[in-house]
């Protein structure tokens, strides 16, 4: 199986590579269009700020390429938000693959939402073998609301999308690579898709 991690200089690539290594999987880190198109699985990590990440994607025309992909695709953290429509972070037009907006958390609560929180309302092959209320590690200041494309929810304190799915595009707000055995299980489920 050929796994690629999309390289656009805004991801915690090394942590994802190590998480795959712990599962016995090897991935190639690349921004090359042909390499990405020919992969069996594409992983799209991301940390940092939305508008600068979008600028980085445009450098290699990845903003044009990614929406055309048809193989199982996993966006992680900012990688999830970049798949959405529009973000309130820097008033940024995102890739627009998943028809969901990205909003800022209410000013009355502490941001970033940082730490371990429960996953609930799980519905997807991505969560096969994962119990309702399992914990995952989150670090983010913006969120996608719950919509018909939500496949896992979390609450801070209002429910938000912990994971999204639209066609072949899967996306998780939490860090699978830092969520202990449960995170590893979810990553393995993605590789099994």
């Amino acid at each position: 199986m050929k796994i690629v991690i999309v390289d656009y200089k805004a991801g915690n690539v090394q942590s994802v590579l190590f998480a795959l290594e712990r599962l016995g999987a090897h991935a190639t880190v690349t921004s090359n269009a042909e390499e990405i198109q020919s992969a069996d699985k594409v992983i799209f990590p991301g940390v940092g700020e939305a508008s600068s990440a979008m600028r980085a994607l445009k450098v290699n025309n990845l903003d044009q390429l990614l929406p055309t992909l048809t193989q199982p695709f996993l966006g992680v953290c900012l990688g999830m938000q970049l798949l959405c429509q529009h973000s309130e972070e820097g008033d940024t037009q995102m890739l627009g693959i998943i028809p969901v907006p990205v909003k800022k958390f209410d000013a009355a609560i502490k941001v970033p939402h940082m730490g371990w929180n429960n996953l609930h309302h799980l519905k997807s092959d991505l969560f096969t073998g994962i119990q309702e209320e399992e914990y995952a590690y989150f670090v983010h200041s913006f969120y996608a609301p719950v919509t018909e494309h939500t496949i896992a929810q979390s609450s801070y304190p209002e429910p938000f999308s912990a994971a999204l799915q639209y066609k072949n595009f899967y996306a998780v707000q939490f860090h699978t690579e830092k969520s202990g055995p449960a995170g590893a299980h979810i990553l393995q489920n993605f590789l099994n898709l």
């Binding site: 915690n12 090394q14 942590s15 190590f18 998480a19 290594e21 712990r22 940390v47 940092g48 700020e49 000013a107 502490k110 941001v111 970033p112 939402h113 940082m114 730490g115 371990w116 929180n117 429960n118 914990y135 590690y137 989150f138 670090v139 983010h140 200041s141 609450s155 801070y156 304190p157 860090h175 690579e177 830092k178 969520s179 202990g180 055995p181 995170g183 590893a184």
Partner: protein
């Protein structure tokens, strides 16, 4: 619900843990990776590695250590100690650190916080504040607590958040090492007055102390020797907190 975090802190010198560690079920207590793995297994929510290596050359071993921790440990970790430039942070994050903490260098040059936040995002910038109770109030000390900065702890906490810090690691030097409990007043005051998470540090001696500091508003609590010497084992601590209605990951 978002849970409160329990964070063991490992002091690192030349790539090895320095504080004495008494674990029977560990082969090499000086190996940070093996100790980190044990803490992760016990239910630690995050780890902090504080590098006290003095020279720049020796700091290369820190990068190697960060890489090894990221390779084997599947919970988040923060690296602190001697970080003073964007380049220092870049190499740590590239090798798998999730967050960095800055302390004296941010007091010396507060713009550093903004530079780091705009380059890497606030979520990976923790500002460590060392504070001491004085007759006039809680003041900030730098250079491992040796230099009185004339800054008030609450004012400095607010400023670092404005400058882009994503988290505050608040250590009370007045409480550190006493095992008489965390500094509840200043921890509560800062927790109520900043919009970012606050990690309480210094003074933990028993399970009740963690309950007390979470009840005044801390988002996470850090300790070193009581975990290293198994005086307060993490699994029992987390059960105690859960029984006392604290949201905690078991």
């Amino acid at each position: 619900m978002l849970t409160k975090r329990i964070i063991p802190c490992l002091d690192i010198k030349n790539g090895r843990t320095v504080k004495g560690v008494r674990f029977e079920d560990i082969r090499d207590a000086g190996d940070p990776v093996e100790l980190a793995a044990l803490y992760a297994k016990q239910g630690a929510d995050e780890l902090v590695f504080l590098d006290i290596t003095a020279t720049n050359e020796k700091r290369k071993t820190l990068v190697e250590l960060v890489r090894e921790v990221a390779r084997y440990i599947d919970i988040p970790f923060t690296v602190g100690g001697g970080i003073s430039a964007v380049e220092d942070v870049e190499v740590l994050l590239q090798n798998g650190a999730d967050k960095v903490s800055v302390n004296s260098s941010a007091i010396h040059r507060p713009e550093l916080i903004t530079e780091l936040a705009s380059r890497f995002g606030s979520q990976c910038v923790t500002v460590a504040i060392d504070t001491k109770s004085t007759p006039e109030g809680w003041k900030v000390f730098s250079k491992a607590g040796t230099v009185d900065t004339d800054l008030w702890a609450l004012d400095w906490a607010k400023e670092v958040v404005e400058r882009g810090a994503g988290e505050i690691l608040l250590t009370s030097m007045s409480n550190d090492g006493t095992k008489n409990g965390f500094a509840l007043d200043i921890t509560g005051e800062i927790s109520r007055n900043v919009i970012v998470p606050v990690i309480a540090s210094g003074g933990a001696g028993n399970e009740q102390h963690f309950l007390d500091v979470f009840e005044v508003g801390a988002d996470a609590a850090l300790a070193a020797s009581i975990f290293h010497f198994q005086e307060v084992p993490i699994p029992g601590l987390k059960r105690f907190l859960a029984e006392n209605k604290i949201d905690i990951r078991i």
